[in-house]
């Protein structure tokens, strides 16, 4: 067993600061009117941990302060666990601010211990979190090492014995405040002159048990691996929902693109973790009040990349009216599909490879409306109006090619009129015909209007070559043009 622990030291502030639209603004996290965490800008301004809120505000007038939001932290940690699911199937949450991964089976795929560590830090960094990684043979050892920022020397793909001895060696150096022991016990040890875990482990077990109770012994056995330590593993959620509540209202669409990007990036990582693509997603723009505007975006093919999701969403956004002041933004997935990457040619057309045929359809649908573009197909019916159909556009290859179904001697016009246009016999010179096309009494729509027509190729007096018919009343109509 090999465990990774990602401990997020500034998690509380990072969760709250997601609501800010400007990363460079100084921000602090407040508990009991005292600063408990501050971001880099606030730190550079001279705000120190432990100073009062009033002091902080007088040092830095533009300061944003947040109270800790435990519910939001829990939700975010859950999301991060889902995103980390791509590295391992055994992910577990260690509240308040760590996730644990069992990575024994994933090392080779992600390029060894250090490749995986880099990938995990990279993922969390992209999602806006700084992480310290601890590696251990038990979950608790990994957690303690991550909190203490203690790196043990390990080869790229170590055997379990090597890990165990190296980890225990490192654990011995860890100060007790980084362990899961309660504050009371840590203080009592400190009064006895015992500061590191190594010193505790050196003491006789029976004596320790008598003085500190079975809880301490249990912890020591679990951290060193003498006792199994089963974790509750995360089962990925079936649906992605993320919401951002802004600090100030947003009243123009341009300013919305930043938070939208933030949510779309989260969604991308969630989708990669689940190996899914989204085919329909919903945005919800809510003002202060009950009425929210929702916008649904549909894709012709499952999509993952946040750039695609955003560019199509933006086109759609241009066309809708938003509330005057948007205070919260929510992104949900409505329909998901298994992810399958498109195969691209190995050689050639590389300069255009960034744009796939389905992307064009998505862009058209988003800007022009869902039914603005269509593909056409031949439909096997002898009545001219029904010999074709409009279908959802999908690019087909040569093997699926439609073959002409009409008799080879018949001629059909390239352009068909939606409704036949009345004309006069004397404007026409008949060139070919007749071709009789008869009834459609079996079709419910046509019961009272059976088709009974004699078709001709004719030349109109104005020079165009048209497809005309005469119906049973002797009236002449143009039905198409030989364009």
């Amino acid at each position: 067993m090999l465990w990774f622990c990602a401990e997020l030291p500034a998690f509380g502030l990072e969760v709250c600061a997601r609501r800010m639209l400007d990363d460079a603004r100084p921000a602090t996290l407040i508990e009991d009117n005292r600063v408990v965490a501050c971001n880099d800008t606030a730190f550079a301004d001279g705000i120190t941990i432990g100073s009062s809120l009033a002091t902080a505000h007088s040092i830095s007038p533009g300061l944003a302060h947040f109270c800790r939001d435990v519910a939001a932290e829990r939700e975010r940690l859950r999301f991060l666990a889902d995103a980390a699911y791509r590295f391992s199937a055994s992910v577990s949450i260690q509240e308040p601010s760590a996730i644990l991964l069992e990575v024994d089976g994933s090392l080779r795929l992600f390029g060894g211990l250090y490749g995986l560590k880099r990938a995990l830090i990279g993922l969390l960094g992209e999602l806006g979190h700084r992480a310290d990684i601890g590696i251990g043979h038990t979950p608790l050892a990994a957690l303690a090492l991550a909190r203490a920022r203690e790196n043990c020397e390990l080869p790229r793909s170590p055997g379990s014995d090597v890990v165990k001895s190296a980890v225990i060696e490192s654990l011995r150096r860890i100060p007790l405040q980084y362990t899961e022991l309660d504050a009371d016990a840590v203080e009592r040890f400190s009064n006895m002159g015992i500061d590191t875990l190594g010193q505790v482990l050196a003491l006789p077990t029976a004596e320790l048990g008598r003085r500190f109770g079975p809880k301490l012994l249990d912890y020591l056995e679990r951290i060193s691996g003498q006792k199994p330590d089963p974790r509750i593993l995360v089962t990925p959620v079936e649906r992605f929902t993320a919401e951002l509540n802004f600090l100030q209202t947003i009243s123009n669409k341009e300013a919305l693109s930043f938070p939208m990007h933030r949510l779309a990036r989260d969604l991308e990582h969630w989708l990669i973790g689940r190996q899914l693509g989204v085919t329909r997603l919903g945005w919800r723009f809510a003002p202060f009040g009950p009425t929210a505007t929702t916008m649904e975006v549909e894709f012709a093919r499952p999509q993952q990349s946040n750039q695609t999701l955003l560019s199509i969403s933006r086109l759609k956004l241009d066309a809708i009216d938003l509330p005057d002041e948007v205070l919260s933004l929510r992104l949900t997935t409505i329909r998901l599909a298994p992810w399958q990457d498109e195969s691209r040619p190995l050689f050639g057309r590389t300069e255009l490879a960034g744009h796939s045929p389905t992307e064009l359809i998505d862009q058209f649908k988003a800007r022009l409306g869902d039914d603005a573009c269509a593909g056409i197909r031949i439909h096997n019916d002898h009545r001219p109006e029904f010999a074709w159909t409009a279908v959802a556009p999908t690019l087909r290859n040569a093997a699926q090619r439609d073959r002409p179904t009409s008799p080879s001697t018949a001629r059909r016009p390239l352009a068909l009129l939606r409704t036949p246009k009345p004309t006069r016999r004397r404007q026409l010179t008949l060139l070919r015909g007749p071709e009789r096309i008869d009834v459609g009494w079996w079709s419910a729509t046509n019961v009272y209007d059976p088709m009974h027509r004699d078709y001709f190729v004719a030349r109109h007096v104005n020079g165009s070559q048209c497809w005309v018919f005469v119906d049973r009343n002797g009236d002449w109509f143009i039905h198409g043009y030989f364009s």
Binding site: L352, H355, L360, A374, W388, R412, P434, P450, S464, S483
Partner: protein, 256 residues
Amino acid sequence: MIHRSGPTEALLAHPDVWRADRIEPRAQGIGTGYPTLDALLIDRGWPKAGLVELLSDRVGIGELRLLGPALAALNTDEQRWVAWIDPPHIPYAPALAEIGIDVGKQLWVRPTSSDDALWAAEYAAKSGSCSAVLAWLDESKLTPKDIRRLKLATRRGETLGVLFRPDDAARRQSMAELRIALAHTATADRLSVEILKRRGGWPIARLELPLAHRTTRISRFDLREQLTTWRASGWRMRQLPPIEQSGESRPMRVGL
């Protein structure tokens, strides 16, 4: 040919002298399927990446059949769309298939406003996902700047852009690299072509092309005979009572 004296000939033979009538064909276009037309075009066909204008007030004189062979070739060679932006009538699938066009690669776009149509044409052209873009745009809203943008888009996306415009557009400036005015001729299945502008050459006046995919291949005598028979039978047909009561040779209507 004017007989030239020695010094002029020598001067003209100088490699630095450029002569407009001696442009080497580059032979990299899409063959039009009409050898007479190919011979006049610098690319030996429609440009692979460029804008063509076809000018005509009439529908149905053969404007699509002129493009037919080229579209069929594009459909065979390339796995890309052919976008039809706002055509005036339904692109009729059976007929398209008949002249060799792959209907599965046609994308019929129906924008609701002229702005959207222009946007769609430009976007389709520059996306690189279309081998050809055929566009019917609102002439009253079309500015020279728009046409320039369309042309740049076709270059970028390596697309054959074809713009259908009315006759009087010939009087207006255009950046398109090839402008052809189309007109009907005295006989059917022939198209009169006038090249108003082409690269590497002067305009060409009036040229009659026999269209591919003829609609009429029947002798005048046969036609007359058929029509006579039809008139006789047609007369009888109109004398017949409505279908509902005339039972004998028609399928029975059950349960309707």
